[in-house]
């Protein structure tokens, strides 16, 4: 009982912190925006008022996207780590991002109008992510060592970046520029009217993750043990890959690639909560993942007047050393 009390207290603390950080995020930036501006921008919107526009069209979508990207990628990472029984797995290292990137690159560069539409890019990022998820899944059944799968994921990444470079040389300057802009990554390309679609995908994925809590708990013991406990492994694998693909695809399509969040956050969560109960791990990953990206983005905006840093760079700067620590810790 003591343990679950501690876990609940921790969850409660995170639950209180998240909205506070989200609120701080809304008020950070080079333009001063007041509470009244937010109130008016929602109930009394005037599109000729800069403060209204900034709060409604920039800050709210940016904050929402930070929450979704952080929470989503963390869940994706958690699911993959459990599925592949590998705490160093994640959508980025296993090349799921690469799949999304490759398909976005191809769609931008083919120039077919449907594909280059909003929905087109999202759909293709999804397909790419799912396809690469299946490829990794296929390889996971063939390799025994955990490290092999990570290497295969990295190779997939290198392979696709080579393909993307090839596509780049064949594309015209304008397409190239659009792709380069996309690949730079940003939390602030999202528009208010796109949020419902993104939120729907995000919500569906979260729901999906909760639906596989029971199999996830069993998968902790490995495929064989899970099957002995009545888990339909094949179905669960597909569902997990699908959820991961939806989250990674949507986040990658709108924000560009964001590294290490999916890998680092679930590990941090397990270290904090010291459990393998996925109901708790999922909730905590959502909360900590969201907070992590929000804090990163707050930091980026605070240093922006002096120094410009893309979100992907900051998450890597923090995430990569953390992952090295994790590896060292496991080697002990």
């Amino acid at each position: 009982m003591n343990i679950s009390k501690r876990q609940n207290a921790l969850l409660l603390a995170l639950l209180i912190c998240l909205p506070i950080i989200a609120l701080i995020h809304l008020f950070v930036g080079q333009i001063d925006i007041s509470f009244t501006d937010y109130f008016d921008s929602i109930f009394n919107f005037d599109d000729r008022n800069a403060s209204h526009l900034i709060s409604r069209e920039l800050r709210i979508p940016r904050m929402t996207m930070a929450v979704i990207a952080g929470a989503g990628l963390s869940i994706a990472g958690l699911l993959m780590q459990t599925l592949f029984n590998n705490p160093l797995a994640g959508p980025y290292v296993l090349g799921i991002n690469s799949g999304a990137s490759l398909f976005v690159a191809l769609t931008i560069m083919t120039g077919i109008p449907f594909f280059t539409s909003d929905l087109g890019i999202v759909t293709n990022a999804l397909i790419g992510a799912f396809l690469f998820g299946l490829i990794i899944l296929f390889f996971s059944t063939m390799v025994r060592m955990q490290i092999s799968l990570l290497l295969i994921g990295l190779m997939l990444g290198s392979f696709t970046s080579a393909l993307v470079s090839l596509a780049q040389t064949a594309s015209d300057a304008q397409e190239l520029k659009i792709f380069t802009m996309w690949a730079l990554g940003s939390l602030q390309k999202v528009e208010l009217h796109q949020l419902p679609l993104i939120l729907a995908c995000f919500g569906a994925s979260i729901l999906g993750a909760f639906l596989v809590v029971k199999p996830l708990n069993a998968l902790v013991l490995g495929d064989k043990e899970a099957r002995l406990l009545g888990t339909n492994i094949k179905r669960v694998r597909l569902v997990i890959i699908l959820i991961t693909a939806i989250i990674t695809g949507v986040v990658t399509a709108f924000c560009g690639p964001i590294a290490f969040v999916g890998l680092a956050v679930p590990n941090l969560v397990r270290i904090l909560f010291k459990t393998q109960s996925h109901a708790i791990l999922i909730i905590a990953s959502i909360l900590i993942g969201a907070m992590f990206i929000l804090l990163c983005d707050i930091a980026i905006q605070l240093i922006e007047p002096h120094f410009i840093m893309p979100i992907n760079a900051l998450t890597s700067i923090i995430g990569a050393p953390f992952v090295i620590l994790l590896v060292l810790r496991r080697l002990k």
Binding site: I54, A173, I178, E304
Partner: protein, 353 residues
């Protein structure tokens, strides 16, 4: 060149205090060389040729020295659009045997020579092939890469191929950029023509400038676009900001210091520019593409009817904008003051739809 206009702006780092005129000791030679605006090179007559000194930005120190003998320069590889334009302006495009990319060439003379094999493609500065360059038997290669040595420079020298950077983009006065045509004049042995060409450009520019300054109504102007999460736009002392002022425009960031580009957040841009009347150089040819990379652009006041880019003649712009600032200024006046029908039509710019 694949380097975007914005990126070029972003790397300008020459400090400059306006159009201070510099008088150099004149030579007794009839083809006297007088540099009035440019701050990044010096050109002197020597026996049978010229001495070109490239100066370190912001200082008077000589960083590189080249002896130029026009009679030797029979075959030129030009990897920069500016130089193509300047050679064409002096009717010397026949000297060109190599370019970076045929698709980026505007001049019809170079294009037709490419088609009948007189001109070959050598790719950008970074990715060209040493063997191909040697086989070209060119005397000299011009490039404009930023802050970097030309690859295999020493090896090329052994084969008698000189490489020379063209730093027109480091100049921070529109006429200083144009003045680099005198370097081209020295190289091709057409210094007289180059002087005449520049004098005409200078004269035309100043006439337009006097016209531009006298408009009473000056529209507000915004430049640039997002790269990543930052909106790059020229600082107040940048040559482009200078040209907006010369054309009778009210540049939104004219009071900012420095010559390099400003990097502003989209929030700052929206905050400052909801009512700005004209948006120049968004970097894309159509509004759909602008929105794809910068969806929030639609809130800008100018987005609806007043976005302009040099998309009318992109290649022409790359080749000629440095040597013909008068044409660029004329375009700006037409855009800023459509009520004045006396200027004529647009050379490079067009409205973006």
């Amino acid at each position: 060149m694949k380097i975007s206009f914005l990126a070029v702006l972003a790397i300008l780092f020459v400090s400059c205090d306006g159009n201070k005129q510099k008088k150099h000791a004149s030579f007794d030679d009839p083809e006297k060389i007088e540099i009035r605006y440019a701050e990044n090179f010096k050109l002197k007559k020597i026996k049978d040729g010229y001495l070109l000194e490239l100066l370190k930005p912001g200082t008077k120190d000589v960083s590189e020295t080249y002896e130029i003998y026009p009679s030797e320069n029979k075959k030129i590889i030009s990897l920069t659009a500016t130089l193509n334009g300047m050679l064409a302006a002096l009717n010397s495009q026949d000297l060109i045997v190599g370019i970076s990319d045929y698709d980026h060439v505007y001049d019809s003379g170079i294009r037709s020579r490419f088609k009948n094999g007189g001109v070959k493609e050598y790719g950008g500065t970074a990715q060209n092939s040493l063997e191909k360059l040697v086989a070209s038997e060119a005397n000299i290669i011009f490039y404009d890469i930023v802050d970097e040595q030309f690859p295999n420079q020493q090896k090329l020298k052994k084969f008698g191929i000189q490489v020379m950077p063209i730093y027109d983009w480091r100049e921070n006065h529109p006429l200083a950029k144009a003045e680099w045509i005198k370097v081209v004049g020295a190289i091709t042995g057409k210094i007289k023509e180059a002087n005449a060409f520049f004098d005409q450009v200078e004269k035309d520019y100043n006439i337009l400038k006097n016209l531009g300054k006298n408009y009473s109504k000056k529209p507000t102007v915004l430049c640039g676009n997002l790269i990543g999460d930052s909106w790059y736009t020229p600082s107040g002392n940048n040559y482009y900001a200078m040209m907006i002022e010369d054309a009778g425009g009210d540049y939104r960031y004219k009071t900012t210091k420095g010559t390099i580009s400003l990097a502003l957040s989209i929030e700052q841009i929206l905050n400052d520019n909801l009512k700005t009347e004209i948006w120049l150089n968004p970097g894309y040819k159509d509004k759909t593409t602008i929105l794809k990379t910068n969806p929030h652009a639609k809130h800008l006041g100018a987005f609806k009817n007043n976005v302009y880019c040099y998309s009318n003649g992109m290649k022409k712009f790359w080749e000629q904008s440095a040597s013909r600032p008068d044409l660029v200024l004329s375009d700006m006046i037409v855009l800023f003051h459509p009520e004045d029908k006396s200027i004529g039509t647009l050379n490079f710019y067009s409205q973006i739809n």
